[in-house]
């Protein structure tokens, strides 16, 4: 087992508000190996973005009550002083966001924004930084990078902007790239291009990648490991095949059955959505947070919070159902529909 690049231990992020304590992230633990691609899947409000914004140091003690440890390359990021965290962020861990239009500054040329990021961390001349920026634009597949570097973000299409963002994020050769819904705002054809680009650059730069998404389809082709989040907790984690072909948690089953299948034979087939709505993070249901929406609920679920227990070396789920039942129900209810 290689030394993990990132290890999160029992991380909680709670926001105090006038209405009560919002438990956005509530005790999650996971590890990420160097060069690995991790998919983090969940609905809006499941805590997937907040946990990685905290890893990035973008949510701090000033806004939230943070507990636990975030160990990155042997250092606990939560204990780092602000100035040192600034050296980590952008250089060793970088992040791209959903909407490339709001993440790029509209008044500055794209090339200038990338060279600024480089010059923040490296002592090099403006001319050298610009050359590196143009080189990055070329590597992310932007045609005529020399001219494009002198254009403004509004002159780029959505896909081009996201490419530029990726170029900026990778310009300092980080060890970890966090992509928060990188393709949600894009057309499917462009989405495929961007995901392929992330895959290719990951090899080239030898970086670990985290892809945060609400769509299990997006991560099927691109992630080694997947963890599913619900109401601030990781409720299932495993290798790609564990999640798609042996899922153990009713919420994961619900996600898998909610997606319309391209290969279904006729129109007007009914989907099997998860009933109800995600819970409020202030009044999280007692016991298993998913129990009000779960079709397999029984008494224990209402009383006891299930722990994330491993079924084998790499596959774990937080559900009170017996393993035999999980396997049987998954075959009958989810796989049968395929």
């Amino acid at each position: 087992m290689p030394e993990p690049l990132l290890e999160v231990r029992d991380l909680s992020v709670h926001f105090p508000t006038d209405d009560g304590l919002v438990k956005a992230v509530d005790g999650i633990s996971f590890a990420l190996a160097p060069g690995e691609t991790l998919g983090v899947v969940g609905e809006s409000g499941s805590g997937k973005s907040v946990s990685f914004l905290t890893v990035m140091g973008l949510i701090t003690e000033e806004q939230a009550q943070i507990e636990g440890e975030i160990v990155f390359q042997g250092q606990d990021l939560l204990k780092l002083p602000v100035e040192e965290m600034r050296n980590v962020r952008g250089a060793r861990i970088s992040m791209i966001f959903q909407d490339p239009m709001t993440s790029l500054h509209p008044y500055y040329k794209v090339g200038a924004q990338i060279s600024e990021a480089i010059r923040t961390h490296q002592k090099i001349s403006k001319q050298e930084a610009r050359e590196q920026a143009v080189e990055m634009l070329r590597r992310v597949g932007i045609p005529r990078p020399d001219e494009r570097a002198d254009q403004y973000p509004h002159e780029f299409s959505g896909g081009m902007r996201q490419r530029a963002m990726i170029g900026m994020a990778l310009s300092l050769n980080p060890d970890l790239l966090i992509a928060d819904e990188p393709t949600t705002a894009l057309d499917v054809t462009v989405q495929a291009q961007i995901l392929d680009l992330i895959d290719r650059l990951k090899q080239e730069f030898n970086a670990a990648v985290v892809i945060i998404t609400h769509d299990l389809g997006v991560v099927a082709e691109h992630c080694d490991h997947i963890q599913v989040m619900y109401a601030g907790k990781i409720i299932e984690a495993g290798d790609r095949n564990d999640i798609y072909y042996k899922a153990h948690h009713p919420y994961t089953w619900g996600l898998l059955s909610s997606i319309p299948r391209l290969d279904e034979s006729g129109a007007h087939e009914r989907l099997n959505p998860i009933r109800g709505l995600p819970p409020s993070l202030i009044f999280v249901p007692p016991g298993c947070a998913f129990h009000p929406r779960c079709p397999h609920v029984f008494d224990k679920c209402r009383a006891e919070i299930p722990a994330l227990l491993p079924a084998d070396g790499h596959h774990a789920s937080a559900c009170h159902l017996a393993l035999e039942d999980k396997e049987r129900i998954f075959q009958e209810a989810v796989m049968a529909r395929r």
Binding site: V190, A192, D215, G217, A220, L262
Partner: protein
Amino acid sequence: MSVQVNERPEEDSQVEREPLVRLRGVRKLFPITRGILFQKHIGDVRAVDGVDLEVHKGETVGLVGETGCGKSTLARVVMRLYDATEGTIEFEGRDITHLKGRDLRELRRDMQMIFQDPFASLNPRKTVGSIIGEPFRLHGTVPRNRIKPEVQQLMERVGLNPEHYNRYPHEFSGGQRQRIGVARSVALRPKLIVCDEPVSALDVSIQAQILNLLEDLQEEFNLTYLFIAHDLSVVKHVSDRVAVMYLGKIVEMATGPTLYKNPKHPYTGALLSAVPIADPDLAAKKKRIILEGDVPSPIDPPSGCRFHPRCPNAQFPKCKEEDPILEPHHPGQVAACHYPLEDRAVMESAGTQ
């Protein structure tokens, strides 16, 4: 019994049926002008550039394409929110292309729209009750004192709590807001509902709830849908027939399963191969057709076949010079391509069959 036997063939053959909507040669150009005083016409954005389309009663026609292909403009032309530059729009056999005033308002009772963004399409200063009841007030189809019970009944039907009648849109989640939009659109029992990306802004689990709701309402109220989305898997799921649009034109049209198994236009193939599949093994069997670059500008579209600069199969000079017309392939399938794809060019496995 004998009546049923006689009726069946007529019911099944869609050719016999009178289409609810018929578009002929519809164009919508947005002029580009220069100067303030003497606005000189220097070009056009050719958003919709010659579309023929029939939508039959009770069916769902899907419209897919990338951003900027003209699918939303086409929807707004059908709704008469934009005036067509050329061509005719017929609704129930009547030419509505130039309808005005009272006649147009009466027509609006029969066609409604559901919008993409449930945050922007609901007035934040009105209660849910008055938003859903607005069509009744505008068209006077329900007496004033009957509006509230009618609205509450609708709310219940679309899965909202009728007690939330006096709440404001911000108190609802995205999925619930989309239910409000759905309730408003079915309030007048329209014949046609144009759904413009109704589920693109929603989480997958909520998306499935809304898709099921739309299917139920279609059956209950005998609705016809024109369903627009950029996600081929969603469109295929709800539609009887799917039209693929590229740069203002329909390049292929077929039933969902035919489109999935045997796409003929390379652009359809590319769209299909780009759809993420939540099944790693099936995804690995898929052949990828990767498109280079972005959709060209609709101001000055490429000559000949508009797809030729991005097409992996383009052969020159034919594709650059000759604009292909829609030609029949499999039953019910038409595609506009000089060098169409072979059968099963994208998906090797036929999936559930």
